[in-house]
């Protein structure tokens, strides 16, 4: 137990030295917290229309002004972040959990399960992401959050392939053979040895998975797939702002900036993680 904690402690120290990664982590964390605390940060809700302040400039009452229907932009951005970030985080976590399980079964037990899972994953991976989302939305119903699951399903193969490959790598090691020979149960081997070794690539994959889900989610919001109008979503906000770019560019600039800042901060953090978890240094 002592040695494992030392490894993670080492890794944390290395990560803290990387200023860009730490900054990325805290920027993303503060955006998440700000969105989560949206009801406490603004007194306006995201849906009430006030026609007297259509396209109002930023003022003390409305920090970032109002949009084409007189809704407070700041609160729409915060509540929109809730939708976008929730979809990105939940779908990636779901994909990581399912992908990890499928990859472990395939990579650890091999045999017929491996054959079946690999071919299923190959097929899933060759369905273009947005096709899966659009067809899910078309068949299950629009704007009820189902595309989160389509997003997760589309991300499963990447996680599962990664876990399968790493598990197969570890299965060649003699200490797994030794553990098997000693009669250690499968679940214990998986928990004690396999999962520990899989964790680093899985964590890195998780951060890039979040950025991918974020991008796809905003694109779907922009195209109007899966998000119904009163709900703010960063991509949907950008679409609203697009119509008024020349006269009131604030909305599209802010929503694009929110997406870009999130993607940049998560990928900086991911790069830092990759450097810190690299065993070669």
């Amino acid at each position: 137990m002592n040695t494992t904690s030392n490894i993670w402690f080492d890794f944390l120290r290395k990560l803290c030295k990387n200023r860009a990664a730490v900054a990325g982590f805290f920027v993303f964390l503060s955006i998440c917290i700000a969105c989560a605390l949206a009801p406490y940060l603004t007194k306006w809700d995201y849906f009430s229309i006030d026609t007297t302040i259509v396209h109002a400039a930023p003022s003390r009452e409305h920090i970032l002004g109002a949009d084409n229907l007189g809704r407070d932009i700041f609160s729409r951005l915060l509540y929109g972040g809730r939708v976008t970030l929730r979809i990105a985080l939940v779908s990636t976590s779901l994909a990581a959990a399912v992908g990890c399980a499928a990859g472990l079964i395939a990579g650890y037990f091999r045999g017929r399960a491996d054959f079946f899972i690999s071919h299923l994953l190959d097929m899933l991976a060759s369905i273009p992401v947005f096709m899966l989302i659009i067809v899910t939305e078309a068949s299950l119903g629009w704007g009820r959050g189902y595309f989160m699951y389509a997003l997760a399903a589309a991300a499963v193969p990447q996680f599962a392939m990664l876990v399968r490959a790493s598990a197969m790598n570890i299965m060649g090691c003699t200490y797994i053979e030794a553990a098997r020979a000693l009669g250690v149960r499968h679940d214990k081997i998986i928990r004690r040895h396999v999962l520990h070794n899989i964790a680093p690539p899985l964590i890195i994959r998780f951060t890039s998975g979040i950025t991918e889900a974020l991008v796809i989610c905003t694109i779907m919001g922009y195209l109007g797939v899966g998000i119904n109008p009163p709900t703010p979503e960063w991509g949907a906000l950008a679409y609203t702002g697009k119509a008024f770019t020349r006269s009131h560019p604030l909305l599209i600039i802010l929503s694009s900036a929110a997406i870009a800042v999130c993607v940049i901060s998560v990928s900086l953090f991911g790069d830092g993680l990759r450097d810190a978890l690299d065993p070669r240094e």
């Binding site: 369905i127 067809v135 078309a138 770019t245 694009s256």
Partner: protein, 320 residues
């Protein structure tokens, strides 16, 4: 090698068939059909006769097999929602989408490799920092914002290229293709840079340098080929992201392509068109993946050797 290539190309067929199968299930069992929404076939007996007319009463497997037979052997995608043969609409749109995607991928490869290599060679210098920051920014800005910025700069302020045009001349595709390329170049250059830095630290590079080989020879003849191996294996994911970008760009610049057709047919519940577009986009995606696989095999001698003839493998084994 030829055997490997043929084997990979033949893999397109089962993949496309299984993808269509999954989508067929989802659309067949879960959704309202477009027939129900046609005002002529309001309901009751009229609806039944409409179902008979469109062969909608056949069971699922018969329909699936007939559909696959039609698109694979006869290249017939059936009829779209308005009763026009789908193949005629599709042909024109496939050309547009392929033009956008192809020029995007081409620009990505041509501009991304030199940028990534240059950054890797000048690691941690000022020019590397600049490339790093610019590519990070460009890869993070969503596609629709890039499209919006480009159209603002080129069409509104500079007035060089018009935005809303009929897509008949290749010049009209400049802005959409540029939008797709920018995101691709940025992510691709970052990938090339990371892999190139790793390769340049390998012992055999030091050996080449100590042998007195000039820098260009080291970087472009020896290191680049090996650095590209992991990059090429990730190319499939990048291409699928570009395809997603194509969808947005088609929407933004209203290019008549497969993506915009699909969006339109989703809102009118035109299942046949959705299926047709999906089949073609899957073929495109799978074909680029397979091209990446073949490129991977060319770059990676281990796979090349695995599929080389038995005799060749033995002689190669003796040599090493």
């Amino acid at each position: 090698m030829t055997k490997y290539i043929i084997k990979r190309i033949l893999m397109i067929v089962p993949i496309v068939l299984s993808v269509i199968f999954v989508l067929f299930i989802m659309l067949y069992f879960l959704a309202g059909s477009s027939i129900r929404q046609m005002p002529v076939f309001g309901g009751g007996d009229a609806l039944d006769s409409a179902f008979a007319f469109f062969n909608a009463g056949d069971n699922f497997i018969t329909k699936y097999i007939r559909y696959c037979y039609n698109i694979l052997i006869k290249l017939d995608f059936g009829k779209g929602g308005i009763g026009i043969g789908l193949m005629r609409t599709l042909k024109y749109r496939i050309r547009n989408t392929l033009l956008l995607l192809g020029s995007g991928i081409g620009t990505m490869l041509v501009a991304g490799i030199p940028a990534g290599v240059y950054a890797a060679v000048h690691k941690n210098r000022f020019s590397d920092r600049i490339i790093n920051v610019v590519t990070l920014l460009l890869s993070a800005i969503p596609n629709f914002s890039t499209a919006f910025l480009l159209s603002l700069v080129f069409a509104v302020y500079l007035r060089i290229i018009p935005v809303a045009v009929s897509y008949t001349s290749p010049g009209a595709f400049f802005l959409p293709a540029l939008t797709i390329a920018i995101g691709g170049i940025a992510s691709f250059a970052r990938m090339v840079r990371t892999c190139m830095i790793e390769t340049l630290e390998q012992p055999y590079i030091i050996a080449l340098r100590s042998k007195g080989l000039n820098e260009t020879g080291v970087v472009y003849t020896h290191a680049l080929k090996n650095a590209l191996v992991p990059v090429v294996s990730d190319l499939g994911g990048l291409v699928s992201r570009l395809l997603l970008g194509t969808l947005v760009v088609e929407h933004f610049f209203s290019v008549p392509g497969l993506g915009s057709l699909m969006m339109a047919s989703v809102s009118s519940r035109d299942h046949n068109t959705i299926l047709g577009c999906t089949a073609i986009l899957t073929v495109i995606l799978t074909a680029t993946n397979i091209a990446a696989d073949i490129l991977y095999a060319f770059l990676n001698p281990r796979i090349r050797l695995m599929y080389a003839g038995k005799k060749r493998r033995e002689t190669d084994g003796e040599r090493s």
